[in-house]
């Protein structure tokens, strides 16, 4: 007897089609809004002369982290500028910033609620596993019917891919707050809200920042991959190099990604350290 093949793929497609047609108003709204955000930030960063933005980033690195990171950032950014990859770098940075912002805005309340409710925690953890282990490319496919080819789809896929660590770390941070401190807050008659804002959140801040750092790193990697669906930036430089079989161009763009990643990583890491 033949076992009937379960039409899992067809179901998912059907569901996505339904979502696309039923919620086209919503997706178009999101698309419009996101595009506006991307353009504004992009134009803003591009309006600044290269040297000015470079100086700002270097200053930030120096103040928040160390003069060593400042020097490193200056050299790295100068190299990117020199290679003519400044504009793609800005585009990538914009996508990362916006995707991270959206991811964190969603992740914080979800993570907090999951930390405080055992039931939601159990519901959410497998979903997070799913989101993180699903090959990143797969998110790109439904993004296209939702938002069309381009940056908005890239943001959508990136947000889904990079959000889990922010949720996980938020939940973890809040759950790690020692029981005796919770007990102390309770004993003095703190409401749930007071407990959250005066005890739980401040104490989980370092963990929370570590989660945001992870989210930024994942967002960066995804934004590069998203070049396959037409996202601008360093990823599309790499993509073009692949299509034309020009390893030199590919590595140049790749190195630019590495530089950007290192600056973002060190910067957010020292930000979380200075808070703890």
């Amino acid at each position: 007897m033949d076992i009937v093949r379960i039409p899992l793929g067809a179901w998912i497609e059907g569901g996505l089609d339904w979502l696309t047609s039923e919620y086209s108003v919503v997706t178009r709204g999101i698309s419009h809004f996101t595009k506006a955000g991307i353009n504004t930030l992009n134009d803003g960063l591009m309006w600044l002369p290269e040297w000015a933005l470079l100086a700002i980033i270097v200053l930030l690195c120096w103040r928040i982290s160390s003069y060593r990171l400042g020097i490193g950032a200056a050299l790295g950014l100068a190299l990117i500028w020199n290679l003519g990859l400044w504009d793609p770098m800005i585009e990538t940075l914009t996508l990362v910033v916006i995707a991270t912002l959206v991811a964190v805005i969603i992740a914080l309340p979800v993570g907090i609620t999951a930390a405080l409710s055992e039931r939601l925690y159990r519901l959410i953890m497998p979903i997070l596993d799913f989101m993180q282990t699903m090959p990143a490319f797969v998110y790109l496919i439904p993004a296209i019917p939702f938002f069309g080819i381009g940056s908005v789809s890239a943001i959508f896929a990136t947000v889904i891919f990079s959000m889990p660590p922010a949720i996980r770390f938020t939940t973890l941070g809040i759950r790690q707050v020692p029981v005796d401190l919770i007990e102390a807050a309770d004993a003095y008659g703190a409401t749930k809200r007071q407990k959250l804002f005066k005890v739980q959140l401040p104490l989980s801040l370092p963990t929370l920042m570590a989660g945001i750092n992870q989210t930024i790193m994942l967002a960066l990697s995804m934004v590069v991959i998203a070049a396959m669906i037409g996202a601008d930036g360093l990823g599309s430089e790499v993509w073009r190099a692949i299509q034309r079989l020009r390893p030199g161009d590919g590595f140049e763009a790749g190195i630019a990604v590495v530089i950007l990643a290192m600056i973002l990583d060190r910067l957010t890491q020292s930000l979380s350290r200075s808070r703890s």
Binding site: D180, L181, Y188, G189, A190, P202
Partner: protein, 400 residues
């Protein structure tokens, strides 16, 4: 205690079962089964069973029991950090187990301050902000709570430490912050959960005395949990003795000492007879820090600060005991620019030989908290005896 005294908290028929089927456990309890049998039959732990006692207005009530006796559960039932299974806890006409969530918050804010064994200070807040916590929760204005918290910090001797963070403080000082946080709140009852158990013996002694002094001044109703009989006897107006979740005896320290209710209590007390054969040597502890006769006042002060003590024995080069230097005297010496501490020492402490019977040491403990110095025939300092050590030694002897 006077029978006509006002009752602040009335506890009646209080029981607590840990587990999912408390009814079953209570039924078996009513059939006369004890905790281990109930655990075996139902998997439920009978934490507290039929607890009845009153806390009088203004008294310092000690709840004493060994670990597993249910004392921590009991104190947490009072402010409902743990929900009770049955029974009443009435404070000023309100029955705590049946309060709504909102009324419970209000009740905790008005009636209870708590000091914890492991301090439970908020590491992200300064000492000042920690002390303000209870007031902040109650929505007291910034300037008001600053003033009140500062005042209570100075009450516990932490002037000048307001901007420090808890991890910069020693254990004793951290617990002072915990105490200040509780005092600032000005709730009507102070709950102290093994508040001094994590401190080392000398500091503990100081804290006990300060608590008694504070309590005498403020007349704040205090419920103090401890596993240490010596602590219970020395600070309690009355003692509630707890064993396996049940009350064994309630009484003043004298009543407990002279008229132990059963063998469990007697075992604590019995050591007193053994004391004739025990000597100072048994209870003696090495001195943590001593000053040399050549030390200046600043060196001596430094040593005291390092060891969190407020007096130090001064020894000659060949370890002969010359005298005792108190922290105030050392400060005075430093202020006056003296370069020797010898003129500032006191002889107002006790010296005994190592073969002095322990029994006699009881009488030697004066109101001052100086340890008794044990010295050999050549006046060389061998060690010190603190009051706690005497009782510990007696209790251990009683066990054997």
């Amino acid at each position: 205690m006077d029978e006509t005294q006002n009752v602040k908290i009335q506890v009646r028929g209080l029981s607590k079962v840990f587990g999912k089927h408390p009814k079953k456990a209570l039924e078996l309890r009513d059939q006369g089964l004890k905790r281990p049998d109930i655990l075996e039959k139902t998997g439920q732990t009978l934490g507290l069973s039929n607890i009845d006692f009153d806390v009088y207005e203004g008294e310092l009530l000690v709840i004493m029991g060994l670990s597993g006796s249910g004392k921590s559960t009991l104190i947490r039932c009072l402010n409902r950090l743990i929900d009770t299974t049955e029974g009443e806890i009435v404070i000023d006409g309100e029955n705590i187990p049946t309060l709504s969530d909102k009324a419970l918050l209000e009740c905790r804010r008005r009636h209870f301050s708590m000091v914890f064994q492991n301090f439970a200070l908020f590491p992200h807040r300064t000492v000042q902000k920690n002390a303000e916590f209870g007031l902040e929760i109650r929505g007291i204005s910034k300037s008001e709570r600053y003033k009140v918290a500062r005042n209570s910090l100075s009450q516990v001797g932490l002037d000048g430490w307001e901007d420090a963070y808890p991890n910069q403080l020693s254990g004793g000082m951290q617990q002072r912050v915990g105490l200040a946080r509780a005092l600032a709140n000005d709730a009507s009852v102070l709950l102290m959960d093994e508040a001094f158990s994590a401190l080392d013996p000398l500091i503990r002694k100081d804290m006990q005395q300060e608590l008694m002094q504070l309590q005498a001044e403020t007349q704040k109703t205090t419920v103090f949990i401890t596993h240490d009989l010596d602590e219970a006897l020395s600070i309690g107006d009355r003692i509630v003795l707890l064993k396996d979740g049940e009350i064994v005896q309630i009484g003043t320290p004298e009543e407990v000492l002279t008229n132990p209710a059963d063998d469990y209590v007697r075992r604590f007390i019995e050591g007193v007879d053994m004391s004739r054969i025990l000597t100072a040597e048994n209870a003696m502890r090495p001195v943590r820090s001593t000053a040399r006769e050549s030390d200046g006042p600043r060196t001596a002060l430094h040593k005291m600060r390092e060891n969190s003590i407020d007096s130090i024995y001064v020894l000659s080069r060949d370890r002969k005991l010359l005298g005792l230097l108190e922290v105030d005297a050392a400060k005075q010496a430093a202020d006056q620019g003296a370069d020797t501490i010898l003129d500032y020492m006191t002889q107002d402490f006790r010296r005994v030989q190592p073969d002095e019977p322990l029994q006699n040491l009881f009488a030697l403990f004066s109101e001052k908290s100086f340890p008794i110095a044990v010295e050999d025939a050549n006046q060389r300092l061998l060690g010190v005896v603190v009051k706690g050590a005497v009782l510990d030694e007696l209790a251990r002897a009683g066990d054997q």
